[in-house]
Subunit: 161 residues, 4 copies
């Protein structure tokens, strides 16, 4: 079984650039995380965008959707900023012939206590086992994008009423 | 949905004790990992044993099985040493009314580049979504214990022929 | 011998706050670093300011100077932002009756590959052994603030011509 | 000023080898630590031995002494196991024409909360600033090997009475 990891940017990939005294989206954190985890199934990582998810628009989401649609891979993990992950997930729900799992991190992967590795492990596992559809894996739970919001104040994803 | 994390020991929980110039099984690494991951579903962590899996015997496996059987929880993650994880998984296959996912780590969780967080994330995700049965999540893959071996030389779990 | 660690802020103490999608100066990183290092000499840590060093002014520097002057401790480490560390060091040179070592970090201490621990170890060692005066320890070198600049593009401290 | 880092082994360099279910002395941790710290002075790292310090004998110590004596470098850091660091330090005291600072770590550098980086930062700083002689930097303090012991139970170096 082949897995495709598509990286879009977001907090998970942020690095600290001292010269600019700021954080920027760096190389995909997934590369090192999957290597460290000794992942043995076939996979490839592709950096499609390097955007803060607050800066994403419908055009970006269409780009992601078209890119996936043109790919034959049926098991896809997307690492993405958390702020608009739900929006991107919803934009992909039309692709109902493959399993797509979106995840990201509340703390950059390069931080000592980041949730990045845990989240990616969950997404990789789910991409191989869930039926076709679009899902979000954050805060240790599997969400249906149709009924999910990110509660920014609480710093977690929740089922929306 | 409630998840029970049962910790048995193994490399994932190993710490380095200088006074003895050696490693020992310490407190469950799962405690910190689940907290760092911001896991928001209900869960409890129980340290049942603190054994190197090479030192486990049929008595230990019966203890684990009886303990799970007596518990009402239907979604269980077991962190365990990797050397005999398959043996313990097989000993639990009689419990066919709940989802049990075994995982561990090739490097202690307290190591900088450990696979522990990734593996635990996968196991937590799978414990909530897989149908009743016993599974192993290692090296980014989901294994059926009936047809799995740990290839020690290669340092990974593989499907046995 | 007693050491006082005075924390002023800067990159070394930066944490990532997701809700604000930004970094902020958090609790002094020195607390955890000194504990992890098993420092056994007597020391105390005091958080005097929590400022990005680009936001510091003459008033802040006077505050630091007066604070140190009022303290009886003769061996002082100051963790500080790197951008204007030289300016603060120069402002303290009038205090010529104690050993003051300034340091900081190019990457937040909470980052996996931070220089924070290394720099703090050097500063703690030097505060106990150097003669009275003001020094900077960065990039593995001991600098005299009178002839030091931070080369932002190169990301390192250098002797100025 | 040139610094030579001579690595002898010890806990600081221990890595976990799963196939052997044990820790072994790996590549010098100093290489990565000095790179991460952005050390800008001239230095070279040489792996002379890879021994647990409990396994070192007079022959090994003579080897280290002769090796240093044959080197022109006047500022030397030695990373070494902590158990017999004092013995090696004493064996080097005859070399009174250069500054030699021994350090190591109570936890392997590859551990998340290791004291390795802090200790190495202190040793690098001291190797450049202390007068000729042999010193130990551990637990945040500078020790004269003549009056130092490692208190194994307490897990720290102390001045001996």
């Amino acid at each position: 079984m082949q897995i495709k990891i598509l990286t879009i940017g977001g907090t998970i990939d942020k690095v600290y650039y001292d010269a600019l005294s700021d954080y920027h989206i760096g190389e995909p954190a997934a590369t090192e995380l999957l290597a460290q985890a000794g992942v043995s199934c076939q996979y490839s990582i592709e950096s499609l965008l390097r955007k803060d998810s607050l800066e994403m628009d419908a055009h970006d989401r269409a780009l992601i959707r078209d890119h996936i649609e043109a790919d034959t891979c049926r098991h896809i993990v997307i690492t993405h900023g958390t702020d608009t992950m739900v929006d991107t997930a919803r934009a992909l729900q039309a692709l109902n012939d493959r399993t797509i799992v979106l995840t990201g991190a509340m703390q950059p992967a390069r931080f000592r206590d980041s949730d990045a590795a845990f989240n990616l492990g969950g997404a990789v596992a789910l991409a191989q086992t869930l039926p076709a559809g679009v899902y979000i894996f954050m805060n240790g739970r599997v969400f249906n994008p149709e009924h999910t919001i990110k509660n920014r104040a609480a710093g977690q994803f929740q089922v929306s009423t």
